[in-house]
């Protein structure tokens, strides 16, 4: 049931809407083919990012792919929580660990998902930031990959999506934009700094290729 809802929302509605009305183009999407589990890392500038990525997921596994969202932003009300869970298939994680009374480790939440064979979409920058500008990656992605070294990490570069729905606006407008999938990242060492560096470089490499 959840799979069907997700397929209707993303594979049918969002994919066509984004392609025809917004003008989104998908590149190198075949990387995802035949992959059952992966960690997708992407740059983040707009709420449309998640829609774009989810719409490009293979419909066979779409119910097993969870975008990771910050609980303090998206889990504000019960309604929002249900919406995020069933419409976006998102997993909410607490962003500020110091604030929460319960001792939930966000890395552990994601790790558990991966151990169950699920895939996750994560924005290592942490927040949407300044439009069109990439900021440094947070450390979370490093811990996550360090704990799950066997899972494939796929970098994604989203180009121009911040123009269709900038931060702080709520009008979606058509702009030609692109979503480009990179190849699976090979990590030479699983040192925390190296992981973050390699991941960052992978996205910057796609960025430099398309510009």
């Amino acid at each position: 049931m959840k799979k069907l809802t997700l397929i209707i929302i993303y594979t049918i509605f969002w994919r066509n809407f984004l392609k025809i009305i917004i003008g989104l183009k998908y590149y190198n999407q075949q990387v995802l083919r035949k992959k059952k589990q992966f960690i997708l890392i992407a740059n983040h500038n707009s709420h449309m990012d998640t829609m774009a990525i989810m719409s490009s997921m293979p419909s066979r596994y779409i119910h097993r792919i969870h975008p990771v969202a910050a609980e303090d932003f998206f889990g504000g009300s019960r309604f929002k929580k249900i919406l995020m869970r069933y419409m976006v298939n998102a997993t909410l994680i607490p962003r500020k660990r110091a604030n929460s009374d319960e001792d939930i480790d966000p890395i552990e939440v994601m790790s558990n998902l991966l151990k169950k064979g699920r895939s996750i979409i994560i924005y290592p920058e942490g927040s949407r930031g300044v439009p069109g500008v990439m900021t440094d990656f947070k450390k979370g992605i490093g811990y996550l990959i360090k704990q799950n070294p066997t899972v494939d990490v796929i970098p994604v570069y989203l180009d121009g999506l911040h123009k269709t729905l900038p931060k702080g606006k709520n009008l979606i407008l058509p702009y030609n934009c692109r979503i480009i999938f990179g190849n699976v990242i090979n990590f030479d060492s699983f040192d925390l700094k190296d992981i973050i560096n390699t991941a960052e470089k992978a996205i910057h490499k796609i960025k430099s290729l398309v510009e």
């Binding site: 003008g23 900038p166 606006k169 702009y175 030609n176 934009c177």
Partner: protein, 317 residues
């Protein structure tokens, strides 16, 4: 009875054009294939890619223009929409222009609705008169006056280029007087697009073969006097022989083809200059080998409205 005969007659004319278009495509494809086998080069590769795209464009266009008029309107409206989207992607507009942009996009269905209904006056004044006032006022309402004059000028111009010009193609098939007796709007539409695109190709071919003296050295190095003159002459000849689609007599045909050729060149040059200003080679990458939508229909956006009014003066008035 007479009506039935005339409609069959018209259909056979359109069938002729379709046959001509397909045979040109087949000849071009085989020529480039053989050329590529004999002497491969970058130019041939580009030509092969362009021909491939021509196949796609011709099929979509012939499907949209012959099957059902409703599909023609929707297809043309989408063409306008894609063109506008392409321009707005390249333009660095201010964040406060966003709500006005929505109105610009919404003017497309309205304009095509007027075309569909054949409301001639509304159709003519909607963009140049109404939108010309509404857009600047909406920009003023957004309250951001920094660089407002740029947006005030760009947005109505983009509508004139992308929507007003192209929508005349739709008006051709809905305008009542254009679909009476021995005149068929569909045939006129085919004639206009065939001549405009033939002009593009002929100017390109003559420029590539004989091009020496640059006509606009600072704007577009590919445009030469030889290409322009060769293109105009050959387009006029082609237009003369394609005249069976129109109710015009020979001197009218020559005049109208000449106008299309010159106006097509102007449209091409205008968009070239715009691209220069943007600092891009093509407006997009939607049509492989050609660039964006506006790269292909740049000449159509300037030829269609004069063509409509020339036909109007020559035939109807």
């Amino acid at each position: 009875m007479e009506k039935i005969i005339s409609s069959i007659d018209l259909n056979s004319q359109i069938q002729w054009v379709i046959a001509i278009i397909l045979s040109i495509l087949v000849i071009a494809t085989t020529t480039f294939w053989i050329w590529n086998k004999l002497k491969p080069s970058q130019l041939v590769d580009e030509m092969t890619l362009r021909t491939k795209s021509w196949w796609g464009m011709c099929f979509i266009f012939l499907f949209a223009s012959t099957v059902n008029p409703i599909i023609t309107y929707i297809g043309l409206a989408f063409l306008s929409f894609f063109t506008l989207r392409e321009v707005y992607t390249l333009l660095k507009l201010r964040d406060s222009d966003r709500s006005t942009l929505l109105i610009c996009y919404l003017s497309i269905p309205i304009q095509y609705y007027f075309a569909y209904q054949g409301w001639y006056t509304m159709f003519l004044i909607f963009i140049p008169v109404f939108m010309f006032v509404i857009i600047p006022f909406l920009l003023v309402l957004s309250g951001d006056t920094k660089d407002i004059i740029r947006s005030m000028c760009i947005l109505p111009t983009s509508l004139m280029l992308g929507v007003f010009g192209i929508s005349h193609l739709a008006l051709l098939i809905s305008f009542p007087e254009m679909n009476e007796g021995n005149i068929s709007g569909k045939a006129l539409l085919l004639f206009l697009i065939f001549i405009t695109e033939a002009n593009d190709i002929m100017q390109f071919v003559f420029g590539k073969i004989f091009g020496r003296h640059k006509i606009l050295p600072k704007v577009s190095p590919n445009k030469t006097w030889e290409g322009f003159i060769g293109g105009v002459i050959s387009t006029t000849i082609i237009g003369y022989f394609m005249g069976f689609l129109t109710p015009l007599n020979s001197w009218q045909l020559i005049l109208i083809s000449l106008c299309i050729a010159v106006l097509g060149f102007m449209g091409d040059a205008i968009i070239s200059a715009v691209k220069r200003d943007f600092g891009v080679k093509d407006m997009g990458d939607s049509i492989p080998g050609h660039g964006g939508f506006l790269d292909r229909i740049d000449s159509l956006s300037t030829t269609s409205s004069p063509f409509f009014h020339l036909i109007y003066f020559m035939v109807i008035v």
